[in-house]
């Protein structure tokens, strides 16, 4: 017996595209495509593999490691030694002991050096996704997950924090390289896209779970957990700039700028991204 035939389902967006004749219907095309992409993302939202990294990060935090065979449980992320909950949404911030404004990854390097005896410079020079940088992926996943759902509140109390913001703002607009690109080229105006990817305007507050509030994130393209350091590194690569040092002041200044601009937005880190 033949089963009743179901009409072939042609994707709605493509049908709509086939009916298009000119730029007059651009808005409709955009809507169909962005609806389809939204559907794709919504389907992935449940079952974010970042959970695997979070679990590993929590374990790594509590495991004695490094030349000093110590855990990270006394690490001060800004809210006192060992306090992880809520720490992420207040980073970058100024730390008295190092005399620096530090983001999460820079601060974790400090703790890995002082508490565990690792060579911070060596870890900073390690390629992403290998060696202790892999440890970092899991640590940032866990630490950021402990602030999931909280509002970003990157401080501007200390003069060094305000100065870092001001430097970050200049860096954001700094055009250079063979393509004349700045961060602002892609992220200076709301409502823009590169290919199909929405571009948050990072000179303002793009809202809950967007832009700075969506990192660290699991990248489906590489199956790795990207912290803000790797995110910025790849932005600079595509900007055709030279190589930004891991946890360098330029990256921390930009993180300060974006973080402060996003004040009050809810962090959904670790998110899932294409």
């Amino acid at each position: 017996m033949r089963m009743p035939l179901r009409p072939r389902l042609l994707p709605i967006a493509l049908l709509a595209l086939a009916a298009l004749s000119g730029p007059a219907t651009q808005a409709q095309t955009d809507k169909n495509v962005s609806d389809a992409i939204a559907q794709y993302r919504a389907m992935l939202a449940d079952g974010n593999p970042s959970e695997l990294f979070e679990a590993k990060g929590e374990e790594l935090w509590k495991t004695p490691r490094g030349p000093k065979n110590a855990t990270l449980e006394r690490c001060d992320l800004g809210k006192g030694p060992g306090v992880v909950k809520g720490a992420f949404v207040e980073l970058p911030r100024y730390f008295q002991d190092t005399g620096r404004v530090q983001d999460l990854e820079s601060r974790l390097l400090t703790c890995m050096a002082t508490l565990q005896g690792f060579d911070a410079a060596q870890i900073a020079a390690t390629p992403f996704g290998s060696g202790e940088q892999k440890t970092m992926e899991s640590l940032v996943a866990w630490v950021s997950s402990e602030s999931n759902g909280m509002k970003l509140n990157v401080p501007q109390d200390h003069p060094a924090e305000r100065r870092m913001y001001a430097i970050g703002q200049q860096l954001f607009y700094y055009r250079g390289g063979p393509y004349d690109f700045a961060c602002a080229t892609c992220h200076g105006e709301p409502g823009k896209r590169i290919r199909l990817q929405d571009l948050p305007a990072l000179n303002g507050n793009p809202g809950d779970g967007v832009g700075f509030a969506a990192w660290p994130a699991y990248r489906v393209s590489s199956g790795e957990l990207w912290g803000m350091q790797r995110r910025l590194n790849d932005c600079f690569r595509q900007q055709r700039f030279p190589y930004p040092g891991y946890a360098s002041d330029a990256t921390i200044a930009l993180a300060t700028y974006m973080g402060v601009n996003s004040k009050g937005s809810v962090s959904i880190a670790p998110a899932i991204k294409r």
């Binding site: 060094a160 100065r163 690109f181 896209r193 055709r240 330029a250």
Partner: protein, 222 residues
């Protein structure tokens, strides 16, 4: 020729700025930084933060006049913008042999290609046009950016039915100029200066011209 300078070219200024940064982080917590101080600190931060990698040398951080004036949330004053745009316009080299259009199929490939010029790209490999990153171009490619305007029906909308006809000449010149040096018409344009910065060669530019202006190109035919 391009003249590139650091915002604060002198090494001594950078040393001072670096010292100021350290000072700030340490004791002088009540001092408010002046704009000049911040600019110096930004330069120092850039110097201290980036290293050369692959083909991406540190000279890429040295700004020319256009990059410098356009590194601000506020656009340059109209008179300055006009002067600089006029200077950029002088850099445009039109095709010597009078051939404006190449092959739109090669142009489409180039428009799709977003590679080239990063620290990870080989120096000898020609870069792509990156066009779809920012522009809608053909009807069939739905993965396009919106940083730049739609180029769909580019030639058709401008009435180019025969690119060889004399009346098409101004459009050919304008389009070539835009590709060669977008800053000639809009001084702080987001678009790279493909000819001026030698990102694409004349043959590649011709192929992109064909994609936009050839009546047989899907840009105009579909």
């Amino acid at each position: 020729m391009k003249h590139r300078t650091l915002l604060l070219g002198a090494g001594s200024a950078i040393a001072v700025a670096a010292a100021a940064l350290v000072g700030c982080a340490g004791t002088s917590e009540t001092t408010q930084s002046s704009p000049a101080e911040i600019t110096a600190a930004t330069q120092a931060t850039i110097k201290a933060s980036f290293t050369a990698k692959g083909q991406a040398g540190l000279d890429r951080l040295d700004q020319d006049e256009i990059q410098k004036i356009c590194s601000s949330p506020t656009p340059p004053a109209p008179d300055i913008a006009a002067r600089l745009a006029a200077e950029q316009a002088k850099t445009v080299k039109y095709p010597a042999d009078g051939r404006w259009l190449g092959d739109w199929k090669s142009g489409e490939k180039l428009a799709q290609d977003g590679k080239g010029k990063t620290w990870a790209d080989p120096v000898d490999k020609p870069g792509g046009g990156n066009c779809y990153n920012c522009h809608q171009i053909t009807k069939t490619e739905i993965s396009f950016g919106t940083i730049g305007p739609s180029l769909y029906h580019y030639g058709k909308l401008r009435g180019v039915s025969d690119p060889a006809a004399p009346e098409a000449k101004p459009i050919l010149e304008y389009t070539w100029g835009k590709l060669w040096n977008a800053k000639a018409t809009n001084v702080c344009s987001n678009m790279p200066r493909f000819g001026h910065e030698a990102l694409l060669d004349e043959g590649q530019l011709r192929d992109l011209m064909a994609l936009l202006l050839d009546p047989k190109s899907p840009v105009n035919a579909d």
